[in-house]
Symmetry: none
Subunit: 195 residues, 4 copies
């Protein structure tokens, strides 16, 4: 029973990820998600409160998973610069494995249907931002990075650079390898922080 419950939740989330990614949140129809998930329209409401709840759950669960794995990997980081490299690798790799999420991140995390929604979705990505900010702080402390860097501002610069690479890759139709761009992306970022 519990098993089944999880199966359907997953099926719906997976279907939603696809439909949201293709059509955006507003363009996605519940009936389409249901069809894709192989359940009846009403069934969705046994597992989620409403359309928005699906989106939130999708973000939360995926990002929690992402952050959890990232933290593990980061334990092997030898330096702040190395840690940033791991972050970039992980982010790009994660996006390649979860293209739908990449779409969603691109589209919905930034969309602005109501300030409220944006705020909640932003909450879910905060743990990731905190990781980056922690690395910057450490880099400043151990002298790897310039003193005087504003932590938050710098985190935005780093995330923005990485994110734009993902966004362009998504918009391009993913015609090239994202992971191949890790070295040059990291070089730009790390150089931008040094000295």
């Amino acid at each position: 029973m519990a098993r089944r419950r999880i199966d359907k939740t997953d099926a719906i989330l997976k279907a939603a990820a696809k439909i949201f990614a293709v059509n955006g949140f507003n363009g996605a129809k519940i009936s389409e998600i249901a069809k894709e998930a192989g359940v009846a329209d009403g069934t969705i409401y046994l597992y989620f409160q409403n359309k928005e709840d699906i989106l939130h759950t999708l973000f939360r669960s995926t990002l929690e998973d992402f952050v959890g794995r990232l933290k593990e990997r980061l334990q092997q980081a030898k330096s702040p610069a190395d840690a940033l490299r791991i972050v970039c690798e992980h982010w790009f790799g994660f996006m390649e494995e979860n293209v739908y999420l990449a779409h969603l991140n691109l589209v919905e995390l930034r969309e602005h249907i109501s300030g409220e929604r944006r705020k909640k979705l932003n909450e879910y990505i905060w743990p990731f931002f905190e990781i980056i900010e922690g690395i910057i702080r450490q880099g400043i402390e151990d002298g790897s990075f310039r003193p005087g860097l504003d932590i938050r501002h710098t985190r935005r610069l780093i995330f923005g650079a990485m994110d734009q690479i993902v966004a362009s890759w998504v918009v391009s139709g993913r015609k090239y390898s994202l992971t191949a761009l890790i070295p040059s992306t990291c070089e730009f970022i790390i150089k931008g922080l040094q000295k």
Copy 2:
């Protein structure tokens, strides 16, 4: 007559910029735009084909204006690094002066109601991207920037970094000065390209 035509077109575009920015494309109602512009609902359809046409015209005209002014300013650039500084200043300044556009850029340029729409909207920003790419190319040629930089990839890194700063500023409710962040942003970008 022609004069009047332009007046109304402008009034509608101005109204649309405001309404789109506040409510997003999907959330904006034609009737609200009409009211804000001081015309009847139906009048809008004498000047634009449909709701989407308004958005496209808005982007195109605003970005054309932006690029035109930027090009003028860039004639005084003393070096590629200086040119990038001017680009950043101009972009941030432009966003501060056109908050509505900043919102729109944040929201709609990235939204993805249909791949089709995104593609068209991206077209309008291309001239701006070409300017940045031209600066990078020049910087590589005159030795200011690292050789071996991939022009397009680098442009994305630069734009992504700048853009994230704007995005965060918008999301924050514009509670701080955007232009104050120009120096630290440029330092990150330029250092990222050097050596």
Copy 3:
């Protein structure tokens, strides 16, 4: 223009009265009302806020009309007993002329979808109740009716008796004359108050 507005409002109200009466409030579909009124579904929302607003307007306007005419007629009343006779005549006559309203009164004024709705609908009938209470008060004062009658309680007894006659007539399919029952109804009521 104003004329048209009134025409449509009336057409919708008339259609709604019919559809509500036949199907009840919950059973009535907006699309049916629209069809009956000869307008598009959406047009209804240009004239009314929502389905409930139609019901309220229907009650309010009809009862206002009813009370207005009743007050005029009552000016010719020669005694409290005569006034009650006029009230009964008017109520029964009104119901015969507005069968749909009779249905509605029977059905919706009493229905209990939410306490809120009932309360509002009851408000509209209050002016009628006040008229009856005024007559009772006067009858006690001039000695026509028993002293010691509780005004409110007595009004309920009177209204209840009359109303049940209407209700039975509606339920029967209106196979007999309602006005023919005025004398016997009034006799019961007036005798019930005297001595």
Copy 4:
């Protein structure tokens, strides 16, 4: 087995009475009734054909019970007027003891989702009406009441008066004693019939 069957039937009916009373027929959810009754949703359909069947059974069984007890009590009536007093006492007392039924009577006996439903529900109250009509007939015969009274019409007047008192009491939130109103109610009714 048979015993168990009755237990569950009763539990469901009792739960339904409560839920119907609070929410009305349309507003009541099968799942709520099931929860209140402590059974599964599907179980209800082992005991009743559908939602409407529950309502019918509820009315029939409750009113049968009511009429049965009333008949017993009426054997001690000393006169038609006394009998009417007993009827009123019993009706008011019954309503006070079965508030849920009072609500239901108020709401659903009169509701009119389909003429069909009303007709059936009315059937269940007929035995009560017949008792009242019998008393009137007897009163006319023994000279207690006016000759020439129309039996059916008079029954409606009596029931209407009593019922309105109950209805107002229910709507008021039952903030006062219903049984306290028996004397004045009976005085009105009996005076209305005499001479």
